[in-house]
Assembly symmetry: C2
Homo-oligomer: 335 residues x 2
DNA sequence: TAACGCGGTAAAATCGTTTCGATGAGGCCG
DNA sequence: CGGCCTCATCGAAACGATTTTACCGCGTTA
């Protein structure tokens, strides 16, 4: 309703002075300052964000393009982003690409218009948006990827080492005596999926048997499909362990196997990925490869801040976290 | 980088004409239009959102203050909001109050500055923010509540009938022969919890036994606590059914009971609330009271649009949806 | 005594759009 | 041929802040 002008008029000063009271109070004489402040509260004056952003050239909002909000893993990453943003007095605007490249493109266009403080994104497919992200960068908007595919270094990125994660999974399952192992996940065009599989395959010995159960998507639903497929095999041919590309799939597999009367881990062991809270809380607590979820988000946001605040001094870098194995009942020793 | 001025110069027209090409192309002669358009693409011109918003007086972003993003129920509501926003060419900015009133207050202040198109909010506690929401409204920013406590009608609201939900739960459990029933949930200051409990209590007969297992929060973790508590009771004193204030709690109860070797539903039946996807996919598929999740969000957003587009003609109203009972294995007949 | 510095404030420029009134060029009609 | 209407375009005035420059009065210093 009321603008800075009315405040100025009521306080009997110029608008510049009001602005100074708001932003650099130490420049203003105490008496004037007080007069302005009472005018502000009296009118219920609130600054106009758009006007500030227009003048400043960018807003105080970090844009986050999430790949799939229905994965609790993403929510935890977000929590990390928010905590970093909060200390820097920035807002976070979360949007959901839902793994849809066209939608992602629209959202990035929107961010181009809004000129946010920076953009954090898990790209649907990093190569495809390369140029669109480049346009953001060339407009002076820092971009940090939650993705390690851009290790070639065309910008900042945060990720965890998915090949290592797959390797940890394989070593763990072998150590537990499993020699017939299935990998459930897909599509393999998603880098994370491919790398987790690659890590697993890399540590198996030639005598081991690795089956891939390809899935169109990583959800509880497709996990159940995978579970059905596993349960349908004759016991002699059935894998004794399943490594799932994420915990949602693992939950689906677990639930379906249980329903078919197979015992976990006695008949089939299950190993998930991400270590979401639901994993620990499953009927059979799931072993999982843990990524530092909040830290991932927190670090990404900090790198964004750094780049935004010291644009010339800034050096792009890629931070790769090491995943851990969290052992729970679903891959316990069975004999 | 380049503004509307440079486009105008390159195309040899005035800025006003460029603006018209962008917003009302039919007003501009085809030939000029083309010239401007090529200038736009040649310069890679992108409109400056802040400037537009400043001029327009409000932005094209809907603000959503969510109560708890880690509840998948909320994510589904959000999906509904997004779908409605998308058709109206609006952006959605999601922020998370995490049930923290102070945080919520800060977020609302932020929205006061940003002057969004409208605000959708599930208030931590509707009464507390009454005035702050009022300030938004008095600034011409429509507010729609995801909450039915404001039935007195001081604004638009969308909700589902939680008392009815509780009643449905009670009737169902009685029909299944249960006479010793527990309610797991809290805190009771949260309207939804209180109403669900009230509905349940209302349909039990005096001879029935209703135990309340109060919880500080509605999460899988507190659900496990409740489960432990139930399992610890001597079988004769143990409730034969638990109605949980939401599905997260129900999942926790289920997992804990299973771990204690109790069978669901044979030893204890479980009934949840919200019907999140994880409920259907649990080890024992959970019966649940379904709310039309996406529709809730969709309707809320539509009401917001209506209020924003016809401010004078608009009549506030409260839409209350009817919940359904979804029967699954966790409350199946046991004899 | 003149020059200088400084704290405090005002005034004006600026950010990039949108919108509105003015202007001018044709075409049509009387 | 003059007046009028339409179409296309221009120029300027907002929108509401921030920032820079200018100014003024007064004390300090050479």
């Amino acid at each position: 309703m009321s603008s800075i002008k009315e405040v100025a008029r009521l306080a009997g000063v110029s608008v510049g002075t009001v602005s100074n009271v708001l932003n650099r109070p130490e420049l203003v004489a105490p008496e004037t300052r007080l007069r302005v402040q009472t005018a502000v509260t009296q009118l219920g004056y609130v600054r106009n964000g758009s006007a500030r952003h227009l003048r400043a050239g960018r807003s105080r909002t970090i844009g986050v393009v999430a790949l799939d909000l229905s994965n609790p893993f993403v929510i935890d990453v977000l929590r990390g982003v928010e905590s970093a943003a909060e200390t820097a007095d920035l807002n976070v605007m979360v949007v959901n690409s839902s793994k849809d490249a066209a939608r992602e493109a629209r959202l990035l266009e929107m961010f181009e218009e809004e000129r946010p403080f920076g953009v954090l994104i898990t790209p649907v497919n990093a190569e495809g948006q390369e140029q669109r992200l480049g346009r953001l960068v060339s407009r002076g908007i820092p971009v940090v990827l939650f993705d390690s595919s851009s290790r070639h270094g065309r910008g900042c990125a945060v990720a965890s080492d998915d090949v290592l994660g797959g390797r940890l999974a394989g070593l763990h399952l072998r150590e537990r005596g499993h020699r017939r192992i299935a990998f459930a996940g897909g599509p393999f065009t998603v880098r994370q999926v491919e790398e987790r599989h690659r890590g697993l395959a890399g540590v198996l010995s030639p005598a081991d048997e690795l089956t891939v159960i390809p899935l169109p998507d990583l959800t509880v639903g497709t996990g159940r499909t995978a579970g059905r497929e596993i349960a349908a095999r004759p016991p002699g041919d059935r894998p004794t362990a399943v490594f799932c590309a994420n915990d949602l799939v693992a939950l689906g597999v677990l639930q379906q196997l249980t329903q078919y009367g197979l015992r976990v881990p006695d008949d089939v062991a299950i190993l998930g990925y991400d270590d979401i809270d639901f994993a620990a809380a499953a009927a059979v607590p799931l072993s999982s490869i843990r990524q530092p979820r909040e830290q991932l988000g927190h670090t990404g946001a900090l790198m964004l801040l750094e780049e935004a605040n010291h644009p010339d001094f800034h050096e792009h870098r890629q931070v790769i976290f090491q995943p851990d194995l969290i052992e729970r009942a679903s891959t316990a020793f069975t004999r």
